[in-house]
């Protein structure tokens, strides 16, 4: 089931990022598949990247399949330039 509107606009505030990811992590506990929609994401910070990376790692441990869709190209470029393969693998 897709999680909507969790990631919206400019993700700069660490608190906002924290709460979004803790929601996501809670969801991960009772599912075996998570589809994250980045459609409305406008900006990501270094902290966001790190959080996303560690979420993916946690999900892996819990055997939850994560997929990221609708990544805006400017955000996809960030993933590319940052060379975070764990994230890149899940995009599209």
């Amino acid at each position: 089931m897709p999680i909507k509107n969790l990631f919206n606009g400019e993700m700069t505030s660490n608190e906002v990022i924290d709460s979004a990811f803790s929601l996501l992590e809670n969801q991960a506990l009772d599912r075996n598949e998570i589809l994250i929609n980045f459609q409305n994401l406008v900006f990501v910070s270094v902290y966001f990247l790190e959080k996303l990376e560690s979420f993916i790692e946690k999900a892996k441990k819990l055997n939850v399949k994560v997929q990221i869709k609708n990544v805006p190209p400017s955000i996809y470029k960030v993933f590319r330039v940052a060379r975070v393969n764990e994230i890149l693998k899940l995009c599209f």
Partner: protein, 882 residues
Amino acid sequence: MTMVFSPQDKHENFVLDTEATRLNFDFISELQEDSFPHVDQLLLKARKASAVFTQYTQGQVDKIVYAVVRAALEHSREFAKLAVEETRMGLFEDKILKNIVASEFLYHQIKDKKTVNVIREIKDEQMVEIAEPVGVIAALTPVTNPTSTVIYKSIISLKTRNAIVFSPHLMSSKCVAYTAEVLYKAALKAGAPEGCIGWLKRNSKLRKQTNYLIHHKEVDLVFATGGTTMVKVAYSSGKPAIGVGSGNTPVYVHKSYDVSSAAMDICISKTFDNGNECPSEQTLVVDDDIYEQLLQEFKKINCYICKEEETKKLTPVVIDPETGVMNYKYVGKEAYKIAQAAGIDVPTNTKILLCEINSDDKNHPLLKEKLMPVLAVLRAESEGDALSKCLLVNHSGGTGHTAGIFAKDENVIAKFQNLINAGRIIVNQPTSLGGLGGMYNNLPTTLSFGCGTGGANSTTENVNIYNLLNIKRVPRRQIMPMWFRIPNQVYFNPGSLNVLKIFPAKNAFIVTDKTMEKLGVLKKVIDNLPNGCNFKVFSDVESEPSKDVIDRGLTEVSNFSPDYFIAVGGGSVIDATKGIRLFYECPDIKFEDLSVDFVDFRKRVISFPTLGKTKLVAIPTTSGTGSEVSPACVIADKKNNLKVSLFDYNLTPDIAIIDSELVCELPVKPSADTGIDAFTHALEAFVSIYANDFTDALCLQAIKIIYETLPKVIQRPHDVEIRQKMHNAATLAGMAFSNASVGINHAMAHALGAKFGVPHGRANAVFLLSTIDFNSGIPTKFMPFPNNKKYIAKEKYAEIAKSLGSQNNEIEKLIVDLKEKIKELLSKSGLPCRISELDIKLDDYLAAIPDLVSKAFNDLSLRTNPRMPLVEELEGLFRNAY
């Protein structure tokens, strides 16, 4: 990790090293397979920062830069104090100034510069330049300018949205770390991504870590400022690198300059940071006339001129006799302390120690770089002597770095800047402050002075923001401006020859051939010359004229001084006249130089002379070549069985007279031959890659007229009206191909004609049908040309068929109709449509094919054909045409 240096190299580099020397990194011996997780962490963070930075706008970036500049300015004294304390080099007051130059001055230069997205629009070239950050930069900083270099590199790195990680020289690691931290905090506060500035901390493994850093996979660019060894290691990291090394600045004081001003500027410069600034003056070369005077001026401002004995004592103190490079202990020290060390007693307020060097002693140690207030002085006998001495210093270490000259004489400045190899040649300014840029001049403000290949560097620039960007160029498709050029006077209709009378010709040189003489055409022309016009006739032109004919014509014309050339005859006569006129007006040009091949004549290598001293009147007596309106001139090279085409609009006749009364005697066979040549001109120009609305209009009309008229000409060759139609059509087609060129049909015809002596028109006829098939197929290769966006040869052939009355609507059928109509035209005109109809045996023909293919392939006409043939396709075309 592997290194490229051998142990011998290592020693040599060590000796050559200027600012680092003994305490400097011994990179090679310390290269081990260590790993440093905290360096990995630092770089991973930097990598993410550089990625996140890609989202920043110019406004966001400029806000960060502003905040960092403010922080640097606020801390400039503190940073200077720390640097002097830690490195024990240089002067506190000047280090403050350097920090200010690296922040305020630099900011002033870059604040309005664009570094995000579109950074430059080059309207004339229809191109924009887009900035792409380089990514993660490993920055090495020197001990001589530790804090100012960190300020400068941080600012230009942030301005370009890069992440930077500093590796300091061990002896300045504390002040570097502190400076980087202050700036980083300011950047973060202004919204910069986490990890955008990083630094290695002081620790016992710093050198190994530096090595590890510059080889790290997360580093995109190594940016090294420092001694020669360090810079070499940076370049050998296998990464893109900007490495800038040591200098040895010669300064020429020319007799045209005011000595007291020169002395003051040099003093300001050489004492700046106690000489601890690599573009500063190292050796003065002074004209004999002002030598003593200049030294007096130095004395006046508390500089000390060492006596011969004192220079001897000072030399080993300044330049370590063991290593042969400047003594690290005295870099950036006060003059009196250095003198003291040499056992010379000078006042404590002494600014500079000047040492006169005997001109014979080219290898004097003091002619090397010495970053301290010690200056070598050479006396020059003459300007030439001075320039050579400057070159000597320029090539004694420090090539490519900095040089200076004080002169009012622009000539000597011009010579100096041409001779000396230095990235910055500072004229009538202090070289150290001048080299920094932004204060005395408009050089980019920098603390990294590129030395080019002279210093084994990648750039001669004052390294600046643009060196930290990948600049992406986006050129827009350029539609080529086209042209339409024809003679500005064209007279036509039977009897139009009498227009000759109105021309203000005084001396007319008439070129023609024997047939014209015999037929009375020449007489007609002479009868129509203006009253009182002198004339001379040259009637030796043969068919397909060669250079010999032109030379003979030139001999005839040489003592005649014509103001008009009048060509009366077929294409051969007109072409010969073009040639005679060209070499008459420009006797110095060489035929070989004008016949160089080209693809686009506007870009071709040779430059064609401008003609205009005389006028050229072309009166064609055949209806075919179009030479009367064309910029082409075909000259046969009989020895090599070749035809050479000269092409330039300067060759186009000024006046063309299209009078059919002169064509009526042309026999039927050459009438058909020349007529079908004109038809081919129009057909090929219509599908050429250069075809345009102007030429298309002419082509369609020419094709229509020839299709209807040529068979009638064959039936009634003496009908002046019919002849006039045909004559006009040939000129229309000539105008078309003069501007749109021809194509593959002509390329093949030229080859066939040259090989088997087939008349040109006939040779065109046998390839007409196969050319249409070839061009209306789907090309294996398209002919590239920016003005064309679609392949429309097929549609264009269909358009011709329609204009010739075909009622079909389908393109394929229209093309079939066109071929039928052409077959009909050929047969009605008594022309062949296959090679087998010519007098050529199959075996001879097959044997000739390789040669034909090669000739046709090299033919200029091929380049404007819409479909580019492969060699094998060309061969197929030749085979099928039999």
